[in-house]
């Protein structure tokens, strides 16, 4: 099966590798959720891979689309210049404005007219694989009527003949159920975008609700996402707790793992928390580090609230302190959350093996204990966070993020 990768974290896996060529994939959003950024990220990926892109814009002016793409940190100007990126303007006709694009739909209220202009555009790009973005199916139904959905059958045939694949945007306004069902049947794959309010945090999710390549219909898991400007789609984990006994290296870990971190610390010890932001492997995560000294235990519950996972830092040269980690997890009300254990200072004199720590802490066999060391022992200053080895830190993040999402 020929596929085109989307570059959206996790999505390609859920789609068995990517979008199947000649298929139509629908990004089905609930009102209030932006789906265009998904199309922008996919089209940038395809352009960079050498494909062409046809953007049928029916809900906004082509200049607005270009500005929005820039907003996410991407630029299509070069591709536009050398004909790899083409707009099909189905919007100007609706508001009786003059179009600045070469491919312009004169009778924008006629679905057939849109089809004809799209096919003309496809003639220009059929030498390479083309990604066709339709923005949006909601405006198609609104301006050309429910029966305009029948045009999709014609477009699908065109895609097969012209080596193209479709990414269509749709927002579920209160349409008739039979219109929605028709759309569900016509799409080869559907990615739903919705928001769920969990206790306090409102999160947006994408779920693959239909993947029908080769007739197999599957359903996928929901992935929480955030859109970084610039940057694009990221898998979003609002809070991971980093805790462990005093002096184990929690602040060092938060500072080493984060692109930017802030600590409330005095005299070399954390007295409130460490807060760091991680942008790694398509994930956008906030780390909350706790103090280790017992007198600050009253705030553990506050810091642990709404956490989705825990990184427990233990000093390998002080195995007796490891038992304190369990007490802290309990006080933070974090027992039961997915967690990994970091055996920090693993290369210092007196460090015990991870398995010894496992015994001391009475950890089940399936809990990962990852040894971590400092990058440069000579650069460690007393009372300041130490820089830990990037590779070790990434191993920890890979292990935990995989458990959380």
């Amino acid at each position: 099966m020929e596929v085109c990768k989307t570059s959206i974290p996790r999505l390609d896996e859920f789609l068995d590798g990517g979008l199947k060529t000649y298929s139509i994939t629908l990004f089905w959003a609930y009102p209030g959720i932006e789906n265009a950024p998904f199309a922008y990220q996919i089209l940038m990926e395809r352009l960079e891979e050498g494909d062409s892109c046809i953007y049928v814009t029916e809900s906004k002016d082509s200049r607005t689309v270009e500005d929005e793409i820039k907003h996410y940190g991407w630029d299509i100007s070069d591709y536009k210049e050398n004909g790899k990126f083409i707009f099909v303007d189905a919007y100007s006709g609706l508001i009786n404005a003059k179009s600045s694009e070469k491919f312009f739909v004169e009778n924008a209220k006629s679905a057939r007219s849109i089809t004809e202009t799209l096919e003309k555009a496809l003639e220009n790009t059929k030498n390479t694989h083309t990604l066709v973005v339709y923005d949006s199916i909601s405006t198609l139904i609104d301006h050309c009527g429910e029966n305009s959905l029948d045009e999709l059958k014609i477009w699908k045939k065109s895609f097969e003949e012209n080596n193209a694949t479709g990414v269509f945007l749709f927002t579920e306004w209160p349409y008739d159920e039979k219109v929605l069902n028709k759309l569900r049947l016509m799409a080869d794959a559907i990615i739903q975008l919705k928001a769920i309010e969990e206790k306090v945090i409102l999160r947006e999710y994408f779920t693959v609700s239909k993947v029908a390549w080769d007739g197999k219909v599957k359903r996928g898991v929901g992935v929480p996402f955030k859109i970084a400007t610039p940057g694009g789609i990221r898998i979003y984990i609002p809070k991971i707790l980093v805790t462990g006994p005093f002096n184990a290296g929690k602040s060092s870990f938060v500072h080493s793992a984060s692109t930017r971190a802030v600590s409330v610390e005095r005299v070399g010890t954390t007295i409130a928390l460490d807060h760091g932001h991680v942008d790694y492997a398509g994930f956008s995560v906030d780390l909350f580090g706790t103090p280790g000294q017992e007198r600050f235990d009253p705030i553990l519950e506050l810091l642990g609230g709404e956490a989705l996972g825990v990184i427990v830092i233990v000093d390998s040269t002080d195995p007796d302190s490891a038992i304190r980690a369990k007490e802290m997890m309990e006080k933070a009300k974090a027992v039961g959350l997915p967690y990994v254990v970091v055996a920090n200072k693993a290369d210092l004199e007196g460090a015990v093996e991870p398995e010894t720590l496992r015994e001391k802490m009475e950890l089940p066999k399936d809990i990962k204990i990852i040894p971590v060391t400092a990058e440069d022992l000579t650069k460690i200053k007393k009372d300041e966070p130490a820089k830990l080895k990037e590779g070790d830190v990434h191993k920890v993040l890979d292990a935990l993020f995989g458990m959380v999402v």
């Binding site: 600590s263 409330v264 005095r266 007295i271 007198r295 600050f296 705030i299």
Partner: protein, 123 residues
Amino acid sequence: MPKSKKEELSDVLKELTDVGDVDGAAVITKDGLLVSSKLPRDVDAETFAAMSATMFGAAETAVLELKKGSVKRVISEAQDCKLVAADAGPSAVVVALVRAEANIGLVLVEIIKAANHTKEIMG
């Protein structure tokens, strides 16, 4: 016989708690340790010291993010009291427990005096 630091701080706190409307006071280190206390008997002084330091330190970091200078005082207004934490030098904070209905302006003058004294004593 010159007074010890402990005795001097105790005097500062006594003077502060003698002010009407101040029901208790303490000197704490910025990393949450209790140095001297004149708090009501039913208060867990050590916990109070640690959490006051957390409150003051977190406020300092929040204000730092805004780039608006340094924190002079943190005032927590509760139903039955006002908790005032005032900067008392690089290593200490003076915390005062003030009656809810007090005229905070007048009491603040006394708290700042106590904080400045503490700063001289603690260094």
